[in-house]
Symmetry: C2
Subunit: 136 residues, 2 copies
């Protein structure tokens, strides 16, 4: 069953996590787990200091600087496959400064971000196309 756009936004609003795909010049693409908030029809993904990272400069930011095309996928797995669903956002993303409003939205959603300094900047995704699917 194809989900209409309001249903997609509703599911994005309650989803707790997703994955971000970006374009890598050599290996073609990268996919990483992300958390996010929905703000004014944009997705804001924290570049945080909370979850330890492997590299000082995140590869996702280097990828987006070269090519802003990205995809965010939110999906729910269940052993009962009649309960599967996903929502996918294709769009353009860039690193943006943390604003108070975006920080508040993320802190409301994730208690881990209530500590000052827990977010250093954002990846803001401007959706170009939203698609969704539900098994039932």
């Amino acid at each position: 069953v194809t989900l209409d756009e309001p249903s997609c936004w509703a599911r994005l609003a309650i989803a707790r996590h997703g994955v971000l795909g970006t374009i890598h010049p050599d290996r073609g693409l990268d996919v990483v787990p992300v958390v996010f908030a929905v703000r004014d029809r944009r997705l804001v993904l924290p570049v945080d200091t909370v979850k330890p990272k492997r590299a000082r400069r995140l590869q996702r930011l280097a990828n987006l600087e070269r090519d802003g095309r990205c995809v965010v996928l939110v999906s729910e797995y269940d052993e009962d496959w009649s309960r599967l669903w996903w929502v996918r956002v294709h769009g353009l993303a860039a690193e943006t400064p943390l604003t108070d409003a975006d920080g508040a939205a993320l802190a409301e959603r994730y208690p881990q971000y209530r500590r000052a300094g827990s977010i250093s900047s954002l990846i803001t995704v401007a959706p170009a196309a939203i698609t969704g699917w539900s098994a039932s």
Copy 2:
């Protein structure tokens, strides 16, 4: 904490689901939820007739025919972020015929595939690089 390769394989062996990223000629990349089994250091992903699809010919197959580079990400979300982990496999993938052994491995893992005809072919991923991370 970086996971070593045996730990990555161990987590892939027990993971129930993941996402597959492929390269799309126009929008750059696609990411879809997938299930899979591990067989002889390859990942086998069913092209199935069980979960209803939006298109008759899967876009992921068209993408892989043009460019076999792909990524499979398996990640576990938990509200306690000290329990987060992920494993990522970069590799080359292609559509392959369903073999009895691969079908049996998938059927053992997912009861949904015990019905004859539930899998029409496979996407087989030959890993080129495996990385993993765990918060603790």
